[in-house]
């Protein structure tokens, strides 16, 4: 059943992201020419904020190893556009007061700030903390220090939850509608452990309550930029879909229902019709 003309995702793992064009993944028609990231004019982010997003997403999804990193996927462009648009303005969310930003996390988003404001305030606050802790803004730290700082930020977000007693959903992942799909991971940005113990023993939190969702938003939006359709500015050349083996917007698989354990042979398509 294997179609030898079409590379499987395992073959792609060896090819690596940098080899996208060279290893035979020619788009059906070329995507719009893209502005190199260092020449991109952000719509929402300031220069310093852009530097932070470039540096932070590069650690959240690093470039080395198999598959594209956030930078090759152009995740920073996705985040900038997203924050400039309705998502950044919390256009769909109920934002009337009174607000209780320190509420039990079971009740979710309770800050008066929009996501755009959380990024603005969160980046500034985190950079300040990095200067105090490591002597430089996040973007200027070594990758080791950046990872340690992100771990501390993650732990800080977890502590914001623990401060309020048993956090909701402790030990449980989203159990979805049909009960039996593997539990989703999206949006569970703060769920990982603090592995290298970078958190200093201070009880002072890095983020105030109004900004406590910063880390979760950053991780979630980074993954969204990595995996969403390329029309949103990220997932450049659908490289993340190729990497994991997701066929994108194909959306027609009846003939594959009974093909047990046979990797799907066709590469992804995007909503605008590109192929990879």
């Amino acid at each position: 059943m294997k179609n030898i003309l079409i590379p499987t995702r395992r073959a792609f793992l060896q090819a690596g992201a940098a080899g996208v064009a060279a290893s035979g993944f020619q788009p059906l028609w070329a995507q719009e020419p893209v502005v190199p990231l260092d020449q991109y004019q952000p719509e929402f982010l300031s220069g310093a904020e852009w530097s932070f997003i470039m540096a932070a997403t590069a650690r959240l999804i690093p470039s080395d190893g198999d598959g594209p990193g956030a930078i090759e996927a152009r995740v920073p462009v996705f985040i900038d556009r997203d924050l400039a648009g309705p998502f950044g303005q919390a256009a769909d969310w109920y934002m009337e007061g009174p607000h209780e930003p320190g509420a039990n996390p079971d009740f979710g988003y309770q800050t008066p700030l929009t996501p755009a404001e959380i990024y603005r305030g969160g980046i500034a606050r985190f950079d300040e903390w990095c200067v105090a802790e490591y002597g430089a803004a996040f973007a200027d730290l070594s990758t080791e220090s950046q990872d340690a700082a992100l771990n501390a930020l993650e732990t800080d977000a977890e502590r914001a939850e623990e401060a309020l007693g048993p956090a909701a959903g402790e030990g449980e992942q989203a159990t979805n509608e049909t009960a039996a799909s593997p539990a989703g991971q999206g949006g569970q940005g703060g769920a990982g452990g603090n592995e290298n113990g970078a958190q200093t023993q201070t009880t002072v939190r890095i983020m105030p309550d109004e900004l406590r969702d910063f880390f979760a938003l950053l991780v979630q939006n980074t993954k969204e930029g990595y995996f969403s359709d390329p029309k949103y500015g990220g997932n450049h050349q659908m490289a993340s879909w190729v990497y994991i083996g997701f066929p994108g917007a194909r959306a027609s698989f009846l003939e594959w229902v009974d093909k047990d354990n046979i990797p799907y042979p066709l590469g992804p398509v995007s909503i605008n019709g590109e192929r990879a």
Binding site: G69, Y109, T178, G186, G192, Y243, G245
Partner: protein
């Protein structure tokens, strides 16, 4: 002053599943019917068209087909000592909006209730004794029996075009079906959907353990089908963009694919979009409604729409909200236990085990909303409640619905959620997991209810609905019982690793992660006006020309997905209106 529009025989609030069914039924009586829908109009083309609809970020993650919290939301708290906070960003449940309601973006997992569930209090008392019922559990009978409901459940199955295998045909157990279900008079209108590898692995494991696996009944068509209204469905192509999306393929049962085109051809039917009903208006004596007042989004003004019959079909929460805002039925008070409107909210107890297989490619994107294999060996009528120490049950199932990477990518326990380890993990594990889950009942309690919030208001200045809800020990015990049945099944499949997620002692209700949109109660049906807001025909006890559809009628939640019963009850109520109420409008009980 509000504008006043010409009188109608029937006004229907909301044009989702129940509103569309009622529209058809009332039009067939020759009545002048107007449906008022707050959201936009929606049709398969252009709204669910390929490829635009295959957009995970827009529909799966940002919920573009759904109600926006900014337009309408509620407040939530765990108990009466807390101050409720707004549900600002949707998570735990996702409400429908626009023509078709949640009926466009549901999965289509279809069940009938068990006969025992519809008379649960009587069943528990007769079988185990009243003393096993926890003091704060407000267990109730529904006021209808399964035997009465059977023809109406079937009517919905015919209209929706359900694909499945009967397990019990007129008392005869059928091979391949659910042997524990109540008797059906007819087979399903369509054969079941095909099965995926994950489905078959689960079925084999369940069979080997001595259980009785069957293919889940689906409101996803398995072949070409024409329903009683002449509406046509085509076979589902396992597109993998089902739940949270409109169907691109005319395969998922929805008001659009099963009812609306036929309804729109009726000369006596009209509908208006951008028309949010603000309240039901009552006559001076409070015994009848005179019509409804709605906000006309286009004209930006309030409109009074007079009508002889008012049908609330706005979804459970909005029906409760409208009842409270309009003063229909006494609001429930948990301190005294008196009052009925808002009483007995309940939800659905979910849990699951994810299993990871290094050498198996499940192709998870080959998925359909209602695909799957289930066992009902631990259903409500199969468990000794006295011995196990809880009241309730669950179906256990595997289903393969989608492989969307933002929301459904599952990694082995302990994998970091970002960085090099995460990136390696997604390459190694995407498509290499399957899950087995429990979908369990939830009883209602003295302090699980809905009323009006004292602080927060909506864009029309109306108080938000307030939900008070938390998990109780009975449901934790039930879900832990299911966990003990599921984990050995998963282990018997020899996965590389597995990880469980079930609520444990002390777990509180987390509003941020999606569970189900199976919110029930608040406009409970029954035979006792002291404990139910509606009589057995879904008619308000107090205002006899107001009928209230939807899962608000459930006195406590089924162990099943609700819409099979919601659809059946709508036909049951419509039948009572047509046969009994129209000739002589009055309280039917």
């Amino acid at each position: 002053m509000a504008r006043q529009d010409p009188r109608k025989d029937v006004v229907i609030v909301g044009l989702g599943w129940t509103g569309a069914i009622m529209g058809m039924e009332m039009c067939e009586e020759g009545l002048e019917v107007l449906a008022l829908e707050r959201g936009p109009d929606r049709e398969t083309v252009p709204n669910f068209r390929y490829p635009e609809v295959a957009d995970e970020l827009r529909f799966g993650v940002r919920f573009d087909f759904m109600q926006r919290a900014r337009q309408s939301t509620l407040t939530i708290r765990h108990n009466t000592n807390q101050t409720a906070l707004p549900y600002r960003r949707f998570g735990s449940f996702l409400l429908g909006d626009g023509v078709g309601g949640a009926g466009i973006h549901w999965n289509g997992v279809h069940w009938r209730p068990m006969a025992e569930e519809l008379r649960l209090r009587s069943y528990v008392e007769e079988t185990f004794g009243a003393n096993i019922i926890p003091e704060d559990m407000q267990l109730q009978d529904w006021g209808v029996t399964y035997e009465e409901m059977e023809p109406f459940l079937y009517r919905f199955e015919q209209v929706a075009g359900i694909a499945g295998v009967a397990g019990n045909l007129n008392g005869e157990i059928q091979p391949g079906g659910n042997p524990f279900e109540a008797p059906r008079a007819n087979p399903f209108p369509m054969p079941p959907l095909p099965t995926t590898l994950s489905n078959r692995m689960f079925a084999e494991a369940a069979q080997a353990a001595g259980y009785h696996p069957f293919i889940k009944a689906a409101a996803n068509a398995s072949q070409a089908y024409v329903n009683p209204y002449g509406m046509q469905l085509g076979p589902c192509n396992f597109c993998g963009f089902c739940e949270r999306y409109g169907c691109l393929n005319y395969s998922k049962s929805s008001p659009q694919t099963c009812i609306l085109d036929a309804l729109k051809r009726k000369p006596n039917f009209q509908y208006r979009t951008g028309a949010e009903v603000l309240r039901v208006e009552l006559a001076e004596d409070g015994e009848t409604a005179t019509g409804v007042t709605y906000f006309d989004e286009t004209a930006q003004e309030e409109v009074f729409q007079p009508a002889d019959i008012v049908i609330l079909a706005a979804y459970q929460m909005h029906n409760v909200h409208l009842m409270l805002l309009s003063g229909i039925g006494q609001p429930y008070d948990p301190a005294t236990g008196e009052g009925v409107t808002g009483r007995n909210y309940s939800y659905q107890m979910m849990g699951s085990t994810a299993a990871y297989f290094r050498d198996i490619d499940f192709n998870p994107f080959v998925g359909a909303g209602a695909n799957g294999i289930a066992i009902d060996d631990f259903a409500i009528n199969q468990i000794d409640f006295a011995a196990e120490g809880f009241i309730g049950g669950s179906y256990i199932s595997n289903s393969q619905t989608n492989g969307q990477p933002i929301r459904s990518l599952s990694l082995p326990e302990g994998t970091k959620t970002w960085g090099a380890e995460w990136k390696r993990g997604i390459g190694e594990w995407y498509g290499r997991s399957m899950g087995v889950g429990t979908h369990g009942s939830n009883m209602a309690y003295r302090d699980t209810y809905m009323d009006l919030d004292p602080t927060y208001t909506d864009r029309h200045g109306r108080p938000l609905l307030r939900l008070t809800f938390d998990w109780k020990p009975n449901e934790i015990a039930m879900t832990q019982f299911m966990r003990q049945r599921i984990e050995p099944l998963v282990e018997s499949m020899n996965p590389t690793s597995w990880t469980s997620s079930y609520r444990e002692d002390g777990a509180s209700y987390d509003t941020t992660s999606y569970q189900t949109t199976h919110n029930v109660g608040g406009t409970v049906m029954g035979n006792d006006p002291a404990t139910s807001a509606l009589n057995r025909y879904l008619q308000s006890w107090d205002v006899h020309n107001v009928f209230v559809m939807g899962a608000g009628a459930f006195p406590q939640n089924l162990q099943y997905n609700p819409t099979g019963m919601v659809g059946g009850l709508t036909y049951w109520s419509a039948d009572a209106i047509r046969r009994d109420y129209l000739p002589n409008p009055r309280p039917l009980v």
